[in-house]
């Protein structure tokens, strides 16, 4: 492990922690605009996280150790997963960092512990949320794997670093990139529990999935869970952005390069956040049993990519 890589770890983690709440509030802001409201300030999420961090944690008497370690495990695995997606600077990959399969498993680990914590507190909503989350992830799993397999097929590498720095042996043509971006967008929506799947803004008992699981969390644990969700959103957005438009991504470690890359990333991310918000505002939440049709769309496009890549 060289100096560049250690610096990369520090910069990437800092950037993702700093930007993640901004994107979350930006989506909220644009959604408010489409509804004719002015919406909360774009720095609101920072303020709520700071407030939560100072609050006391309350555990349910029936909860076990799982409840106590889950926020830490979740944020840890999401932050490690964040290292796998270079947001502003691409170093030489070291060890298994950047491996796309490991990336998926880290996300799955966070989700597993979140579901356990949902069950652990003994509240019925938590259990319901966990059960739904697990059903959805069981259905989306094949699709996710096919989408990432399509990525690996197109770029002919399993390493995300090689993909985004365009150092991969195979480079995709524009049409393939369009299909990939649609599939990745659907994965992004599903993984971060956004509108056609789950509504992140409601605590309505019968519909919540992600919110159901973290209902029993409080104080700084809740802040960690929210931050983990925000970081996950940013990481998946970063993956989509940097695969499709890697423009401005720094490959050498200079101050100017990094600054430009950060600014460009914030701009590209804000555009994507706007797209997500408009997509969410334009549709209603789907019924639970209709969800597979959305996944089938992502599955369809990525299988198409694989067909094109394999046979032509």
């Amino acid at each position: 492990m060289n100096v560049d890589f250690i610096l990369y770890i520090a910069i990437n983690t800092l950037v993702v922690l700093a930007i993640a709440p901004l994107f979350v509030s930006m989506i909220k802001k644009v959604k408010a605009w489409t509804q004719g409201r002015s919406g909360p300030s774009v720095f609101q999420t920072y303020a709520s996280l700071r407030k939560l961090l100072t609050k006391e944690v309350i555990y349910s008497p029936s909860s076990s150790r799982i409840m106590r370690i889950t926020p830490l495990i979740t944020i840890a695995s999401i932050l490690v997963a964040a290292l796998f997606v270079p947001l502003i600077f691409v170093p030489e990959p070291v060890g298994g960092i950047g491996n796309i399969i490991l990336f998926l498993y880290l996300l799955a680990l966070a989700r597993f512990f979140m579901a356990l914590a949902g069950l652990d507190a003994g509240s019925s909503f938590g259990g319901m949320g966990s059960s739904r989350e697990m059903s959805i992830s069981a259905i989306i799993e094949p699709t996710t794997i096919i989408v990432f397999a399509a990525l690996a097929f197109v770029f002919k590498t399993l390493n995300i670093f090689d993909m985004v720095s365009r150092m991969a042996p195979g480079l995709p043509a524009a049409p393939t990139l369009i299909l990939i971006s649609i599939s990745l967008f659907i994965i992004l929506i599903v993984e971060t529990s956004r509108i056609p799947i789950d509504n992140p803004e409601t605590h309505l008992e019968l519909t919540m999935i992600h919110e159901g699981m973290i209902l029993e969390q409080s104080g700084r644990n809740l802040a960690l869970m929210e931050l983990a969700a925000a970081v996950k959103l940013t990481v998946l957005m970063g993956l989509l952005i940097n695969l499709i438009v890697p423009l401005g991504l720094a490959t050498s470690l200079t101050l100017i390069g990094i600054l430009i890359a950060v600014i460009l990333f914030v701009i590209k991310g804000s555009i994507l956040a706007g797209i997500i918000a408009i997509f969410e505002s334009s549709m209603a939440k789907k019924r639970f049993f209709q969800l597979p049709s959305l996944f089938a769309m992502a599955f369809f496009f990525s299988t198409l990519i694989i067909i094109i890549e394999v046979f032509s």
Binding site: A173, A174, P175, L179, I182, S293, M297, F300, F311
Partner: protein, 230 residues
């Protein structure tokens, strides 16, 4: 003059547009958007024809682009939208045999099969390696996907749209593989317009006598005599 490879790149992107619209037509339940997506699909075909025209310079392609634009992008969608507003059906949620998810999966298999079959047939010919091969695969797949829509939906208006998207597939295949005489393309489009007129109107009352049918037209507000309030 634009570079040939640039145009081929554009055509590939348009192909992706056609795939996306076809997938949407197969899987959506919202009738209003199906019509506009159909119009977008036809518009993509117009652009493909224009791109091919700039590649080959054959006037027939330009003529096809123009009549496709007027008939399939403007007239037919306008007509279907008008009918839809009158019969007030917004959503199509009834399916025979296949629901949208299954149809998407099946259409994927269809594309794969067509790809393999066509590559066997065209093996050794110069067309095998080019854009034209992929255009042919897409044309036949679009045709079969349209056919699937036609038999898996219950509402007549979606069936008509499935048929129209099937015809788009034929046009796409025709653009890339064979060159049909212009008069035939023109006649197909005339047929298409008449067929849409007939299906959308007759679907209201195909199982009735003429007197009964007249009454139904009134009931569904499809035909209002001058000065009559509905």
């Amino acid at each position: 003059m634009i570079d040939t490879s640039t145009i081929e790149g554009i055509i590939r992107i348009l192909f992706v547009g056609i795939i996306i619209t076809a997938a949407y037509i197969i899987s959506t339940r919202n009738l209003l958007s199906v019509v506009s997506v159909y119009a977008v699909q036809s518009l993509t075909l117009v652009f493909i024809a224009l791109a091919l025209y700039s590649l080959e310079g054959s006037l027939v392609l330009l003529a096809i682009a123009i009549i496709t634009f007027f008939s399939k992008v403007l007239i037919i969608p306008y007509f279907i939208t008008t009918i839809q507003e009158r019969i007030r059906i917004k959503r199509d949620i009834e399916f025979h045999f296949l629901n949208p998810t299954t149809s998407l999966l099946i259409s994927m298999v269809l594309m794969l099969v067509i790809y393999m079959v066509l590559s066997r047939i065209m093996q050794g010919t110069p067309a095998r390696e080019s854009l034209f091969f992929f255009g042919a695969v897409l044309g036949i797949s679009l045709m079969l996907m349209g056919m699937m829509v036609t038999f898996s939906r219950k509402r007549v208006i979606t069936k008509a749209l499935g048929f129209l998207s099937m015809e788009n597939g034929v046009l796409l295949f025709g653009l890339f593989v064979t060159e049909l005489p212009f008069i035939i393309e023109f006649l197909i489009i005339i047929d298409l317009i008449i067929l849409v007129l007939l299906t959308t109107i007759l679907s209201v009352g195909i199982d009735s006598t003429l007197e009964d049918y007249h009454q139904r037209l009134h009931r569904f507000h499809l035909w209002e005599e001058p000065g009559e309030d509905s």
